[in-house]
Amino acid sequence: MHLFNWNNAVSSDTIKRFEAECKCKVQETYYGSMEEALAKLTAGAKGFDVIGPSNYGIPPLVKLGLLQPLDKTRLPNLKNLNPAFANTPLDPNNQYSAPYDFTVTLVGYNADKLKSLGIDPTSWAVVFDPKILARIKGKVTVLDDPREVIAAALRYNGFSANSQKPEELKKAVATIKAAKPYWAAFNSQSYIKELTLGNIWVALGYSNDLFQSRQDAVKAKRAFKIDYTLQKEGNGMTADSFVIHKNAPRPDLAVQFINFMLDGKNAAGITNNVGAGNPNAAAKPFIDKALLAVPAINPDANQVKQLEQLTDLSATTRRAWNRAWTDIKVGN
C-alpha cells in the first residue's frame, strides 16, 4: 500500500502495526506543503492508494476528480469521529475523507533564549514585528507555505485567516515583506532539527513538528528547552484527513488502513507519538494525560474560539495569494 502524506504525520510504530495486521508493506512518500502535494498530484502523480491532505486540499482534489468516495460500510470506525470534525463544509457527509489529526500553526521557540532576551512568544509579533525581530535576526524560520504564513500575517493584522479581501491580503503581505529580512529561511521541514540544535530560536511551524522538536531536545539532553504556544491574535488550524486516490492500485488495503487509523487506540497514537491534535473521540481515553494539558493538542473552549480552520480559497484568491507569495520570495 502506498501512502502519500505529510512528513512527520503518522509514526512508524503505527505503520508497523498496520503492516502486521494487513500482512502488507506500506510505502510512504512525503511532502512538505499542501501546495507541493497538490502540484504533484495535478501533475499526474499516480500509484498512490491513500493520501493525507489538509482538509482545505480536499475540494481541489475532488474537483480534479482525483478521489474516490469512501465505502462507509467498510468503515465502521467512522462513528468514532468527534462530531466537530465530521461532516465539515470542506467535505459534506465525509463522502471522500476521514480526518485523522489536526494541527495548529503556531510559534515554537527556544524557551531559555527567549526568556533571557525577555521576548514574549504569545504574540505573532515575535515573527512579524521588525522591532522584536531585530534582536533575533537570522534565528527565525517560517514555513515555506503561502497558505500558512499569509494566514498568520492576516491574524496578526486582526483579519480572518481565510480573508478573501484584496486589501487585507495587501496588508498581510506588507507585514511579511517588512519581517522577511530578519528571517533566516523559509523552511517547512528541517526547522524541527534546527530548533533542536539551537541554530534557530523561533519558528513559525506546525504544532506536531514543534512537539517533535521539543521531545528531541529532551532526548538529546540539550541545555535548553524547546516549547510552543498559541498566539493571542489567534491561529490557523487544519485538520488532515485520509482520502483514497481514484486510481488506487489497492483500494481494499486503503479502506482497511483508514478504518485501522480510525480505531480509538490507533488514533491516539497520532497524538501520543506525533503530538498532533485528535479529531477522534474514541481516542481520548488512550491519550497521554500530560498531552491533554497542551492547548495546541487539546484546546479549551476559549482557545477553540481563537482557532480558525483554514478553508479552500476561491481560484481568484488562491492565484492572488500565490502571486503575492512569488513577490515575497523574489523581493529583496
Partner: protein, 308 residues
C-alpha cells in the same frame, strides 16, 4: 545514390526523431504554454473537457475567439513588475561572480598542471575531475555540514571574529554560502578547458620574451593571458550557464533572499502551479542564455582574429 540517401536516413533518423519528440516538441509546447491561462488547480486552463453527463468531448472555448485561450498577460506581468527583472540581474550577478572566482582559483592550478612534467599531468587532471564525479547533491551537502553553526569550522570562524569584536556571523543560509557552493560545484568545469588551452602554449615564446627583457608580469599579460582567452571563454560558458539556471544550491544553502531564477521557475511549476508564468520565466532564461552564447561566439571570433 538512393542507397546513400537511405543510409543517411537510417543513421540520422532515429536520433533525430527521438530528439524531436523529447526535446523540440516539449520546448515548443512550453513556448505555447506561456501564452495560455493557468488552470484553476494547476496545469493549464483546459481547452476541452469530457462532459461527465453526456460523456462527449466538448470544446470549452470558442475557437474563433483567441482571447478566450491565448493571452499576453503572463509576459506583461514579467515586464511590469520590476522584481522579476531584479531577480534576473541578481542571478546574473551570482553566476558572474561564481565564474570570476572560479577563474581566479582555476587559472594558477591549470597553469601549473600544464607546466608540470608530462608524466604527472594526467594524474593531476584526474585529481581535479575525481570530486566532480561524486554526486552533485553530496557536494552541496558537504558544505551544509561544514557551514552549519554547530560545526567546527563555523565555531572557529566565529571565535576568531569574536576576538576582533565582530558578532557571530551566519554562514549557512546566506549569500556567502550560495556563492561558495556554486564555486565549489563548478570549479572543475573551469580548470579543464583552461588546462587544455594552456597545455598547447609554446614555451619558446615566453623564453624569447624573457630574452627581450620582459618581466614575469609582462610575459603573463602580453603573451600567456591573450593566448589563453579561448580557454577562458570556454570555461566561463561552462560555469556561467549552469550556475545561472541553478535552483538546488540556493534552495539548500541560501537564506530568504538568496533565491535565483531557477528557484522561481521551480516554484511556479511545483508550488504555485502557475505553469504559464513558469513558462514565461523559462523562455526568458533561454533567451538570456542564447544571447550570451551568441555574445561569446562573437568575442571568441574577435579574440581569434586578434591572436592571429
Amino acid at each position: 545514390m538512393r542507397n546513400n540517401r537511405l543510409a543517411k536516413w537510417l543513421i540520422s533518423g532515429p536520433p533525430l526523431l527521438y530528439l524531436l519528440l523529447f526535446f523540440a516538441i516539449p520546448s515548443a509546447i512550453m513556448a505555447f504554454a506561456a501564452f495560455r491561462f493557468p488552470g484553476d488547480y494547476g496545469g493549464l486552463l483546459p481547452l476541452m473537457n469530457v462532459n461527465p453527463d453526456t460523456g462527449k468531448t466538448e470544446l470549452l472555448i470558442n475557437a474563433g475567439n483567441y482571447a478566450d485561450f491565448l493571452t499576453l498577460e503572463n509576459f506583461t506581468r514579467f515586464f511590469q513588475e520590476p522584481v522579476f527583472f531584479e531577480l534576473f540581474l541578481k542571478s546574473f550577478w551570482y553566476a558572474g561572480l561564481t565564474t570570476v572566482i572560479c577563474l581566479a582559483l582555476a587559472y594558477p592550478l591549470a597553469w601549473l598542471i600544464a607546466r608540470s612534467p608530462k608524466k604527472h599531468r594526467d594524474l593531476l587532471v584526474l585529481m581535479v575531475i575525481l570530486p566532480f564525479w561524486s554526486n552533485f547533491l553530496i557536494r552541496v551537502y558537504s558544505w551544509m555540514i561544514i557551514l552549519g553553526p554547530q560545526g567546527y569550522f563555523a565555531k572557529s570562524i566565529n571565535a576568531v571574529l569574536g576576538v576582533i569584536g565582530i558578532g557571530p556571523v551566519q554562514l549557512l543560509f546566506s549569500h556567502f554560502a550560495v556563492i561558495l557552493v556554486l564555486v565549489y560545484v563548478h570549479l572543475p568545469f573551469m580548470v579543464l578547458p583552461l588546462y587544455a588551452n594552456l597545455e598547447k602554449h609554446d614555451m619558446n615564446l615566453l623564453d624569447a620574451a624573457q630574452d627581450l627583457g620582459a618581466n614575469a608580469w609582462q610575459r603573463f599579460w602580453r603573451i600567456t593571458w591573450p593566448l589563453s582567452l579561448p580557454g577562458v571563454w570556454a570555461g566561463a560558458a561552462l560555469v556561467f550557464i549552469p550556475a545561472l539556471g541553478m535552483f538546488a544550491v540556493p534552495d539548500l544553502v541560501g537564506g530568504t533572499d538568496g533565491i535565483m531564477i531557477g528557484n522561481l521557475i521551480k516554484q511556479q511549476f511545483l508550488d504555485s502551479r502557475d505553469w504559464p508564468f513558469g513558462s514565461v520565466l523559462s523562455i526568458m532564461l533561454t533567451l538570456a542564455v542564447l544571447m550570451l552564447a551568441g555574445l561569446a561566439t562573437l568575442i571568441g571570433r574577435g579574440g581569434k582574429r586578434n591572436a592571429l
